[in-house]
């Protein structure tokens, strides 16, 4: 292994992680400085829910495609979402496994799992790029950051797929690209929309708290009253 590859797997990643954590810390501090709107009203609704239940339901929404009409009616979009995010988990995990637990990659089954996840995420990434460009609704709301973040992640999946066997016998190009991309990703993420997951727990909690207090969450769709004479 060259010094450059060693550097990219270790020092570079560590510096990038510290930078990311610092910016995240600053972002959260900035966010928490905004005053929290207070809900004073006594609870409404049937009394079978409450702010805590609303929060739990709201946070679990991500795993309940039936809960929202938008995911219920578009299961393919939901599947894409799952595949894409599993790809992110796999690609991040790989960046730790290669330097700190390479033994795991001696198992071809394990490598296959990583490759299936990142490969599928790559395909979804390409589908999403096409959608972002061709769908007039998505195109109209997209910023340069949206396009760039998507292209960045999709390329990163491709290199994660290729890097998974951890084999440098044919050269270090793929591994170097994967680790430099990972470092760039870590530094770029806090400034981009990819950092949405930082806000997710807050936005969903606040919404769930309000809607739980007001008897809206969990959303009811039954019973159906159909009582013709």
């Amino acid at each position: 292994m060259s010094n450059l590859l060693h550097f990219s797997e270790h020092t570079l990643q560590e510096v990038a992680l510290v930078l990311m954590a610092t910016v995240y810390f600053l972002r959260i501090r900035w966010f928490m400085k905004w005053p929290l709107g207070k809900e004073r009203q006594p609870a409404t609704g049937l009394g079978d829910t409450n702010p805590k239940k609303g929060e739990r339901y709201s946070l679990a929404n991500v795993a309940m495609p039936w809960a929202m009409e938008s995911t219920r009616l578009k299961p393919l979009m939901y599947i894409q979402f799952v595949v894409f995010h599993l790809g992110v988990v796999a690609a991040i995990a790989l960046s730790f496994i290669i330097p700190y637990g390479p033994g795991l990659l001696e198992s071809s089954a394990f490598v296959s799992v990583i490759q299936v996840l990142t490969g599928a995420a790559f395909i979804v990434g390409v589908m999403r790029i096409i959608r972002r460009i061709s769908n007039p609704y998505i195109r109209a709301i997209s910023s340069p950051d949206d396009h760039f973040s998507l292209i960045l992640l999709t390329s990163w999946f491709a290199f994660a797929f290729l890097a998974a066997p951890n084999d440098i016998s044919g050269g270090e190009g793929i591994m170097l690209t994967y680790f430099f991309l990972t470092a760039f990703f870590l530094i770029y993420v806090p400034f981009s929309k990819i950092s949405h997951y930082l806000y997710y727990p807050f936005t969903r909690t606040y919404l769930g708290r309000t809607f739980g207090r007001r008897g809206v969450f969990p959303i009811r769709r039954k019973p159906a009253y159909q009582m013709s004479k």
Partner: protein
């Protein structure tokens, strides 16, 4: 009016300064967390009625507000404005363009909110944007007019106190005649009552029958209630124009009157935004914890039936009915099951509309849209979605628990020639009341009294 870019107009500067004072952490979360996934797009009735026009998409509309936040309050936008589509506002023309979006292209129905995986609540910051524009004097004429009436006269339809009292007295006479009881009363300002009943000024101005129907129900239930002479308007234009001060003042008037009368419970007649404003948002705007109970009259009527205080006969309401959930009742206050239960007790043929409850589509008159004449054509165009929903039920009458929805639905039913009627639960419950025995008894009682008097 400034038209030179980079030289910000007085109003634009004032709006941007005010924004910082109105942002809460919940709003900042919603302004920051959007990933532009577009999952909310099809949840909006404006999008569905205007296929191919992305300017109606919730995220697109949200971005018109978000860009200001990013540019002036979020440091990523300050550092890389173009990269994250941050932008500012300079001219009064731009403020008017923003007005046409936040008032004219969104009814604040919150349907996109419950369909956003990230929990972005556009309706809340859209309301904030409305408030900012009103703060600098830019709003639809109708909104300005109604808000002024509510500030100055105390109710949003400019009903004078004497007209209000006169209408109640007139309905009291009707009650006496219908119940054959010359002593029947619609009490005004009676202290220490169990219930203080507040209404929508539309009931005084256009629908006094609803006041009579409620009075009949209270009469038969033997309720100890009163209507207040002041602070009787439970509607609140502060919800629509985003003015928390107006919202707090209007709700505060109601709360103060209940306290002054030492009422035990506040009952709010059927009105979605009135219920949400008085029951839910009012304490937040007025910064006041209310010490008495408050409930929708739907819950009160249902309880009367369950407790046997009133008897109803559903055969008195023949025909087929569907129920339209007001967005404010269903999506913001969880009032979905009680109206259904009540409706099923007073009509024989009730058919659900789909989607329903919190997923129902707006009547398209929400968010104060009925007062914005300039947007009527686009409102009615977007109402196609609701019209299709109504037609699919195959019913003759749509029931709703909201005066605003009554107007919105009536308008669209006429426009799309659906030939349906619109009514409220209070009307159906009053119509289904079993009162023959009471009326007969009253007849006898007062005939005897008259005879005794004559002797």
């Amino acid at each position: 009016m400034s038209s030179i870019k980079n030289e910000r107009s007085y109003k634009a500067q004032k709006l941007l300064d005010r924004m910082g004072q109105k942002l809460t952490r919940q709003m900042v979360g919603s302004l920051t967390a959007c990933v532009h996934c577009g999952m909310c797009t099809d949840s909006c009735h404006y999008v569905l009625a205007n296929p191919g026009d992305p300017t109606f998409a919730p995220a697109y509309k949200a971005d018109r507000i978000r860009k200001l936040f990013k540019n002036h309050y979020d440091w990523t936008g300050k550092v890389f404005p173009k990269w994250v589509k941050a932008g500012s506002i300079f001219t009064d023309e731009e403020l008017h363009e923003l007005k046409d979006i936040v008032f004219g292209k969104c009814t604040n129905c919150r349907r996109c909110t419950i369909n956003c995986p990230m929990g972005v609540d556009l309706a809340t910051f859209n309301r904030m944007a409305r408030g900012l524009l009103c703060y600098v004097g830019i709003m639809p004429e109708g909104v300005e007019y109604v808000a002024k009436e509510q500030w100055e006269i105390g109710n949003q339809m400019g009903v004078l106190k004497e007209d209000y009292i006169e209408t109640i007295e007139w309905q009291e006479e009707e009650l006496q005649s219908e119940m054959e009881d010359p002593t029947a009363k619609i009490p005004i300002d009676k202290p220490d009552s169990n219930i203080v009943y507040v209404i929508n000024p539309r009931e005084i101005k256009h629908d006094p029958r609803s006041v009579l129907d409620a009075a009949k129900i209270f009469y038969v239930a033997g309720e100890d209630y009163t209507m207040p002479s002041e602070g009787w308007d439970m509607t609140n234009f502060g919800l629509f124009n985003g003015d928390d001060e107006l919202g707090g003042a209007v709700a505060g008037r109601v709360y103060d009157k209940v306290e002054e009368l030492r009422g035990k419970k506040l009952v709010i007649s059927e009105c979605g935004h009135g219920y949400r404003s008085t029951r839910c948002e009012g304490p937040n705007w007025a910064k006041k914890d209310i010490a008495f109970e408050a409930e929708s009259s739907v819950i009160t009527m249902l309880r009367y039936i369950k407790q046997g205080k009133i008897k109803v006969d559903k055969t008195k309401n023949p025909g087929s009915y569907t129920f339209h959930d007001s967005c404010n009742n269903a999506r913001s206050c969880g009032l979905t099951e009680e109206p259904r239960e009540l409706l099923s007790l007073v009509v024989e043929d009730f058919r659900e509309m789909y989607p329903n409850r919190a997923e129902n589509y707006c009547c398209t008159g929400g968010g104060g849209a009925m007062s914005m004449a300039e947007y009527r054509p686009s409102r009615l165009k977007s109402a196609k979605i609701k019209a299709d929903q109504l037609a699919a039920t195959g019913t003759k009458t749509v029931v709703t628990s909201c005066h605003n929805c009554v107007d919105g639905l009536t308008d669209l039913i006429g426009h799309y020639k659906l030939g349906m009627d619109v009514t409220q639960l209070v009307n159906l419950v009053a119509n289904a009341l079993v009162v023959d025995d009471i009326v007969e008894e009253n007849k006898k009682k007062y005939a005897e009294k008259e005879e005794v008097g004559a002797q």
